[in-house]
């Protein structure tokens, strides 16, 4: 005993520390009970596993051209399960390669935007006043830049490159994230536990990282899951316009764009990639909804 010889009567048995049910664990349990979100999680997992392992089950390469099988419907004899495209390439393998690119763009760009947006927004909200004004006006200015113009400029200067798409998407998506985090931070920084941290003498940087960011993560995670499909869509849009990934590499946007041109004569070229894209977007949206419900503090 450090201070007292007497032990307060409240303490009876000695015991091992009790394992706690943290806020996160409670949220996880609530998420498990959400059927739509759990179903989406499983479907999404299957799509990701398929994107990783699927191409190795097919005898075809994603860039192999079969001159004798141009624009064929699904054909099980030659193991073209989704048919072939206008250049005689296997659509099954190309759809799964497209999944890799689209998912990678979605996850990476979202992660980048999340990191920048959270740190930027928390800093602006925490310091408030003039700092906040300056930082958020800068965000407003960036908001006014037309996105397509920004992307085309990047393409012109640096040439077409898949990493540019990450940069361009990340650079745009963090703005909204910063605004959300700033708003949350403004609400949290007046709470008493932040004042308690000030009274202890914790430095501002530590307060931001130890006290503010963990408490804004709920809405951030929800927004991130809703950003992923948004980013996939923008990438598809860019590819649709011909500003996206470079042939022979492909993405869902590219495949849909090609399929849309020939949808009267070769509907499978549109249907398969479109079905994958739509399913993935649905899954992310349901997961986002589920997370929002699970992390809602009023439900605690």
């Amino acid at each position: 005993m450090l201070f007292f010889r007497r032990k307060p009567a409240l303490i009876s048995g000695e015991g091992a520390p009790v394992e706690a049910r943290s806020v996160w664990r409670n949220a996880r349990l609530r998420l498990y009970r959400n059927k739509a979100a759990m179903g989406s999680l499983i479907v999404l997992g299957l799509i990701i596993v398929l994107a990783i392992l699927g191409p190795s089950f097919s005898p075809h390469e994603y860039d192999a051209v079969y001159w004798d099988r141009i624009q064929m419907g699904p054909d099980f004899a030659n193991q073209h399960w989704f048919g072939t495209d206008g250049n005689g390439r296997d659509l099954f393998v190309r759809t799964l390669y497209g999944a890799r690119v689209s998912m990678a763009v979605g996850l990476l760009a979202t992660f980048v935007s999340m990191v920048i947006g959270v740190v930027y927004g928390a800093t602006a909200g925490f310091f408030g006043g003039r700092v906040d004004n300056l930082m958020m006006r800068f965000v407003d200015v960036l908001y006014t830049l037309p996105f397509m113009f920004f992307v085309i400029m990047l393409m012109v200067v640096f040439g077409r490159n898949i990493f540019l798409i990450f940069v361009a998407l990340g650079a745009v998506e963090w703005l909204t994230m910063a605004r959300i985090v700033r708003g949350q931070t403004l609400a949290i920084k007046r709470r008493e536990f932040i004042e308690a941290a000030h009274a202890i003498g914790v430095s501002n940087l530590t307060i931001i990282f130890r006290h503010i960011i963990p408490n804004v993560l709920g809405p951030v995670i929800v927004y991130a899951t809703l950003t992923i499909p948004q980013v996939i869509l923008i990438e598809s849009f860019l590819s649709f316009l011909g500003l996206g990934v470079q042939e022979p590499l492909t993405s869902w946007g590219v495949l849909i764009s090609e399929g849309a041109n020939v949808m009267e004569v070769a509907p499978w070229m549109l249907l398969f990639p479109a079905a994958f894209l739509a399913t993935t977007l649905f899954c992310f949206n349901f997961i986002g909804d589920g997370l929002r419900d699970a992390l809602d503090p009023k439900d605690r």
Binding site: F3, F4, V18, R21, E195, A199, V202, H211
Partner: protein, 329 residues
């Protein structure tokens, strides 16, 4: 109790600027604390009472430099700390702590209580190892009546009274010299209130703590305080030893407050004389001229509107800010 005060507050003022309405509106000044003086000795409890909005909490935070005072001195162990930069203030925070009104809101919901109580140690005692910190946290949990094996739990798993014990453990772990208690029991049940107040008194006796006990509950303040300061609209109305202020309150406001405390005896309660004041607290943006209490004082006279009463000593350690010696007594 030693004679030399560890904390001297002199003419402390906290004014907030309220932005004016519209683009060119004139900003107005809200005087939350307006010229407060008091001393606090080691091991002493100063009770600070007053209505909501009279500047009690602001005063407590201004003493700790959580709100920057506009003017005046806060002399802590012989050194004026008013307006110190936060970096210069940091080493002093070891000996100055605060306990909050809302026990749950003062704990970070994403941290275990072990992490919460350890935070002052982690911040100020980088020399301590993980094991030593854990041991000290568990010892302190035992001291405030929490089961040490609950160290891994989260605040939302505890009741209000337990959360307040966690807050006290966090404030106590660096063995501070002064704790500002900002209405520490007003959010708790009456039975829990008694436990927490007794815990604070217990800790005070053992560690020679000084307490600034802010409350609007006069019975609690009477139980724990050695001296009592009555605030009204950011100004001190009366300050005296507990026994003399309850036995013979001089200021009409103090008398009104004390006579409003219910006595748990119906006979006495019916028989007691009440001084009832009417109206609400005037706006601190636009305080009354002269004596700030005159708008609600039943004994107000012409002089009160023109002249602000000076604080004067009417008996040993009993100071009063009123033109009259206990009007109507």
């Amino acid at each position: 109790m030693s004679a030399e005060p560890i904390l001297k507050v002199r003419d402390l003022r906290v004014h907030f600027e309220i932005p004016g309405k519209g683009l060119f509106g004139k900003p107005s000044l809200l005087k939350a604390v307006d010229g407060v003086d008091f001393d606090l000795r080691a091991g002493e409890t100063l009770g600070i009472v007053g209505e909501s909005g009279c500047g009690k909490s602001t005063l407590g935070r201004a003493v700790l430099q959580l709100i920057e005072p506009t003017a005046g001195q806060v002399v802590w162990l012989g050194r004026d700390i008013a307006g110190l930069r936060s970096a210069a203030m940091r080493p002093l925070r070891k000996s100055l702590q605060i306990i909050f009104q809302d026990p749950l809101a003062s704990l970070n919901p994403r941290m275990t209580i072990g992490e919460i109580i350890a935070e002052p140690l982690v911040t100020h005692r980088a020399d301590l190892g993980k094991e030593e910190i854990r041991k000290r946290v568990q010892d302190m949990m035992a001291n405030v009546g929490l089961l040490p094996q609950m160290i891994n739990r989260y605040p939302h798993e505890f009741s209000g009274g337990q959360c307040q014990r966690i807050g006290i453990a966090r404030a106590m772990i660096l063995e501070p010299k002064l704790i500002v208690c900002d209405e520490p029991v007003s959010a708790l049940d009456v039975s829990i209130q008694a436990q927490i107040v007794n815990l604070l008194q217990d800790l005070q006796r053992r560690f020679g703590l000084s307490l600034m006990f802010i409350s609007h509950d006069l019975s609690v303040v009477r139980h724990i305080s050695h001296r009592i300061m009555v605030l009204y609209l950011g100004k001190v109305m009366e300050i005296a030893d507990r026994d003399s202020i309850y036995a013979r309150p001089h200021h009409p406001y103090t008398r009104a407050l004390i006579s409003a405390v219910p006595i748990p005896d119906p006979e006495k309660e019916r028989a007691k004389e009440r001084l009832i004041i009417s109206g609400d607290l005037p706006s601190p943006i636009n305080p009354p001229s002269g004596c700030v209490f005159r708008t609600r004082c039943p004994f107000a006279q012409e002089r009160c509107t023109q002249e602000e009463p000076k604080r004067r000593t009417i008996a040993d350690g009993h100071e009063l800010a009123c033109h009259f010696d206990g009007p109507g007594l």
